[in-house]
């Protein structure tokens, strides 16, 4: 089984006879159902094996490949990506991170047999504030008893297992929560119930529901990792999921761009095709560049999990913040080209509005932008004091996608970066593209200056807006560094200057730097690549995969 195989099985999206084509995807969305044929295909393909480490019999050996592989599913239907599989992955990673051998084996077997695990973190009343989680397990008569409810849990009504984030100690602080892995088939049916489904504006087929426990006995082996260790586990496990998920989501923007490009090349306006109008071209090129920026950051972060595990705590948050943001902005720009068609649920471009509805839901899933920025903020002063003064450039393998990677060892992921930031070393040393990289270096120096003495209150979740803006600036600069690294290491189009010039221009713009107008020829060269990929049915991301 290869991921190429997955693309082939998905088939031609525009073929009306394809049971996994856009038409069927849209119809399922209208019905508020997951595409059944899609679920069957993914089961048959054995998608869950992608989530299980190779040493446990699965196919998970590289975080970047996982993101690239699942991207094919998201390109077709984000609801299917989330609804079939991704939440199983989110609930499995803490088990890989801190579970004992038996728990790991059990979870691996569960997934490899095609079953599902649900990730029970969210309590709607408390959102991102994990410290106020009310679902609690109390010790009584030698065992734990669980009470409380979780909401918006994908698949919980049909999952065989659920991983719960629960309070196990009344004391405040970070050692009061534990992960509990429950086999819902074995749990006493009178002690828990599945609450009604939550309906959402996007990924309408996903089966989000609530689960409520009432004094439910928890079997002895259910605590994953140390009692009270869940906060720490989450800090590691979420680095993996927050790096990988946005990398999958990039498939959504690929389809958005492809849909609008198809329209723009076909549609005649004022006596020529829309794709020949300069303004339209500039929007198309902008979306393509944003997609490449997103993939540079996401791919580099996923590879960094292997290569620089001590540094990814900040990078993962930057990915989870910036990739969804850039994608939503790009989709909005693309909608202006598609015009009224961006608003129609039927017809050849109806898929656009579906993806536009899916994007915000997928973006919010597994950490809001505020949560991601807040986790960056906490580390800004250390980064400013150490990482950005004389950063040591990263391992060059980070950007050489064909090179093998050391294994992903989640235990080695650092809880904080301790101020290390090798990725920024790329910006510090880049001497070509003088105007652009010098401007970005200056922006980094400014950022450093503003972060180095951030007042203690301004480093927390109650920080003011300026801190959030600093964290956002960090994310833009990290994206710029990732893109430069990719450009340096790659050949062909990605090793050539137009795209990196365009990409850095867009990032510099967002940073409010004045780099002058885009140099002549940049847009044309990037557009030529975009059109060529469209003609040859290749993906718009870094990997340029042949599409079905």
């Amino acid at each position: 089984m290869t991921l190429e195989d997955l693309e082939l099985r998905l088939g031609d999206p525009l073929d009306p006879a394809n049971p996994l084509g856009q038409q069927e995807v849209l119809a399922a969305d209208e019905r508020g159902e997951l595409l059944a044929a899609g679920e069957r295909m993914l089961a048959d393909y054995g998608l869950n094996a992608e989530f299980v480490p190779t040493e446990l019999g699965g196919r998970l050996d590289r975080a970047d490949r996982l993101a690239h592989g699942l991207r094919a599913v998201f390109r077709r239907d984000a609801a299917l990506g989330i609804g079939y599989g991704v939440t199983s992955f989110i609930s499995a990673v803490p088990v890989w991170t801190s579970g004992d051998a038996e728990q790991r084996r059990w979870m691996a077997d569960l997934l490899l047999s095609g079953r599902r695990a649900a990730a029970g973190y969210t309590e709607l009343a408390h959102g991102a504030d994990f410290s106020r989680i009310e679902t609690a397990a109390v010790a009584r008569g030698g065992g734990l008893h669980l009470s409380g409810g979780k909401q918006l849990v994908n698949n919980v009504g049909r999952a065989e297992a659920v991983l719960l984030f629960a309070r196990t100690d009344d004391a405040p602080g970070s050692r009061s929560h534990s992960h509990l892995l429950l086999d819902l088939r074995q749990a006493p049916p009178d002690r828990f119930r599945i609450l009604p489904r939550f309906h959402t504006s996007g990924v309408r087929g996903c089966l989000l529901a609530g689960i409520e426990f009432q004094d439910c006995p928890v079997p002895a082996g259910a605590v994953v990792g140390e009692l009270g260790g869940a906060m720490e586990t989450v800090l590691r496990a979420f680095q993996v999921t927050r790096s990988v998920l946005p990398g999958m989501m990039i498939g959504v923007l690929d389809t958005q761009l492809r849909t609008v490009l198809r329209f723009a090349r076909k549609r005649q306006l004022y006596g020529r095709s829309v794709a020949d109008i300069p303004h339209a071209r500039s929007v198309l090129v902008g979306a393509f560049l944003d997609l490449l920026i997103c993939d540079s950051l996401a791919t580099v972060a996923a590879r960094a999990l292997h290569l620089h595990p001590e540094q990814t705590s900040v990078l993962a948050a930057a990915v989870k913040y910036l990739v969804p943001k850039l994608m939503q902005d790009a989709a909005q720009q693309l909608a202006t080209l598609l015009g009224a068609r961006s608003f129609l649920r039927d017809g050849p471009y109806g898929i656009f509005q579906k993806h536009a509805r899916d994007l915000p839901v997928v973006s919010l899933a597994h950490a809001s932008s505020a949560v991601c920025l807040a986790s960056i903020i906490a580390q800004l002063p250390r980064l400013a004091q150490r990482g950005w003064t004389a950063p040591v450039p990263p391992d060059p393998v980070l950007f050489r996608f064909a090179d093998p990677l050391p294994p992903l060892v989640i235990d080695r992921l650092g809880l904080t970066t301790r101020g290390e930031d090798s990725l920024m070393g790329v910006l510090a040393t880049e001497q070509e593209l003088p105007g652009l990289t010098a401007g970005l270096r200056k922006a980094l120096a400014d950022l450093r200056e503003r972060c180095v003495d951030l007042r203690p209150r301004e480093r927390t979740v109650v920080a003011g807006r300026p801190s959030f803006e600093l964290a956002e600036r960090y994310a833009f600069l990290a994206a710029a560094a990732a893109a430069v690294g990719v450009w340096r290491a790659q050949d062909g189009f990605l090793g050539d200057t137009p795209w990196i010039t365009g990409a850095l221009h867009r990032l510099a713009d967002r940073l409010g730097l004045d780099c002058g107008p885009m140099p002549d020829g940049v847009r044309e060269a990037v557009l030529a690549e975009l059109l060529d990929r469209h003609d040859r049915n290749l993906s718009f991301d870094l990997i340029r995969r042949r599409l079905a």
Binding site: S201, G339, L344, R465, G512
Partner: protein, 576 residues
């Protein structure tokens, strides 16, 4: 009755939106949306309230004497439910060409129909051509004393429901700018075989709306159906759209109020990290920014809508500015408020009837219909040479500008003959900026306005000066308009908004001496800070204090159930 009172009275008569027994309740509107169902009962209610009278000018038997009344009505309806607002108010869009170009007899006859509740629809676009109206294929051919229509129009709001449709038809086979004419077609007078309604399309937002099309099969229309001159259809349509585009912001303002009310209500009640969400600085700032943006949009909309009567010759500028800027900004506002609500912004049933996700979907269409972003920025780009020239000369229609910006000034009836495709004398709003800034500085020197606000206005003026130099350097290229021209046009809309804000504050601040939004130019400072941040980020060192000062008025307007607005307007919504 002043417009805000008219709005409050209308809202009262719509009933409490939290009472599911009322036709315009949140619960009912959500149900209809989920079923893609047309809000027929709500529309009947509005008919019963006599609202259609506002779709016809007073001179033609209606009640429309001030366009800001219509702006306010649209705002109140859109705040409640945009599907209803769109379904009902579109009769004004359908009729407007007759008001702007019809004969007295035509206008009187249509006035009777409209006030009697007839649904009138405007049919410009065709499936294959969208905003390229010159490519329209529907034809009207002379047949005796009248014409025969053949062809179809698509993505037409109310096309199926409409009693009358105002149709743009090709009357010269060669086409061209003088090759099209408008006809007011009475569907009731046609035989069933002469026309057919195209199936309703399913849409992303406004799911209950009748967005469909109409096809004519040799449909005979009398000669008297021609609106305006033969061959004058495109020009008349463009002039008519200037008026309607100046009213579109009412939709965005209404939905922004709805979104902000949901977000503020949630932020006041929800606790995070041991405090109210509204007291988390990041969330509080997002709310203040949204409020500032809403007030900015309101200010530029008020000035522009009043310009329909006060500065009709310049409406080609203001209408394009607000039709681009307001929906674009409010799309962003809604998106950021969604971040405050988090998952609740995406739930279709569990939180407040899914109102947020509905309005977010609904609002997307505002930037699309009746001239999208590209069309409106293009309309400005076409006028760059005039705008640059007139700004340099400092030409201002002082009386017109005063009338447009002084809210209690009486307005003359719209002189439709002054509408013009190009604003031959430029924009008084922008050419008047230098004078406004000088007056603001004089007030600051006399201690009657904060110096900080005058300094911000200085920055706006400097940016505006530079922009107009760039406009002067722009070389017109009708076909290959470079992408950079769109950047300039976007910046122009921001400068225009800033100039409108300064002017509006100056002209009315004495009438609001006890209003915390107006005292010390509180709202103006926040508006300028927000606009400057987009125009020249480096010029804004710290936008915090100006935005923080909005927290009080925001909370006050929320708590006493007033519309989020520069002008006091009580809503009928009961606290939940």
């Amino acid at each position: 009755m002043p417009t805000p009172e008219l709005m409050a009275e209308l809202d009262e008569r719509l009933g409490d939106p939290h009472d599911p027994a009322t036709a315009l309740s949140y619960a009912r509107c959500a149900q209809l949306d989920a079923r893609d169902e047309f809000p027929a009962e709500a529309c009947r209610l509005l008919d019963g309230l006599g609202l259609p009278a506002y779709y016809a000018p007073a001179a033609h038997g209606g009640a429309l004497a001030r366009y800001e009344d219509l702006l306010g009505i649209i705002r109140i309806l859109a705040r409640r439910d945009f599907t209803v607002a769109l379904a009902h108010c579109k009769t004004y869009l359908g009729s407007v060409a007759v008001w702007m170009g019809g004969t007295a007899e035509q206008a009187a006859a249509l006035g009777r129909r409209v006030t009697g509740g007839a649904v009138v629809s405007l049919a410009l676009t065709e499936s294959a051509h969208g905003s390229d109206l010159l490519a329209g294929e529907l034809t009207a051919t002379v047949d005796g004393d009248g014409y025969r229509l053949d062809g179809e129009k698509w993505l037409i709001n109310n096309a199926t429901r409409a009693d009358l449709v105002c149709v743009l038809a090709r009357t010269d086979p060669a086409g061209g700018p003088r090759g099209f004419s408008l006809f007011l077609v009475d569907k009731r007078a046609l035989a069933a075989s002469e026309f057919s309604c195209l199936p309703r399309v399913r849409t992303h937002g406004v799911r209950g709306a009748d967005i469909s099309g109409v096809a004519f099969h040799g449909a005979p229309v009398p000669g008297a159906a021609l609106v305006g001159t033969l061959g004058g259809g495109l020009e008349l349509a463009m002039k008519s759209l200037q008026v309607t585009r100046a009213l579109v912001p009412g939709m965005s303002l209404g939905m922004a109020d709805h979104a902000l009310r949901l977000a503020v209500g949630f932020a006041f009640g929800h606790r995070m990290y041991e405090r109210r969400l509204a007291d988390l600085p990041h969330a509080a700032r997002t709310l203040a920014e949204a409020y500032a943006d809403l007030l900015t949009c309101e200010a530029v909309s008020l000035v522009t809508t009043r310009s329909i009567q006060a500065l009709p010759g310049e409406l080609s500028i203001g209408s394009a500015v607000v039709k681009y800027l307001v929906p674009t900004v409010i799309d962003q506002v809604v998106g950021r408020l969604g971040q405050v609500l988090g998952a609740r912004a995406l739930l279709t049933e569990a939180f407040e009837h899914g109102r947020f996700q509905k309005l977010e979907r609904d609002h997307r269409i505002v930037g699309i219909f009746d001239g999208n972003t590209v069309v409106n920025l293009g309309a400005l780009i076409n006028q760059f040479p005039i705008l640059a020239r007139s700004y340099r000369r400092g030409r201002v229609d002082a009386a017109g500008l005063d009338a447009a910006s002084t809210l209690d000034a009486a307005l003359k009836a719209l002189d439709r003959d002054r509408l013009s495709l190009l604003a031959r004398e430029g924009s008084s709003v922008l050419a008047g900026l230098a004078d406004s800034v000088a007056r603001l500085n004089a007030m600051a020197a006399a201690g009657r306005a904060p110096g900080a606000v005058a300094a911000l206005a200085d920055d706006v003026l400097a940016v505006t000066e530079r922009l107009h130099q760039q406009l002067a350097e722009h070389r017109p290229t009708p076909r290959d308009v470079p992408a950079s021209a769109f950047d300039l046009a976007q910046r122009y809309t921001l400068c225009y908004a800033a100039a409108a804000c300064v002017r509006l504050w100056l002209a009315n601040q004495e009438a609001f001496v006890a209003d915390p939004l107006w005292v010390d130019a509180t709202w103006l400072e926040a508006a300028l800070v927000r606009l400057l941040r987009r125009l020249d980020p480096a010029a804004v060192r710290d936008d915090g204090p100006a935005l923080d000062r909005l927290a009080g008025p925001l909370a006050d307007q929320y708590r006493d159930g007033s519309m989020f607005s520069l002008l006091p307007c009580r809503l009928s919504e009961k606290k939940t």
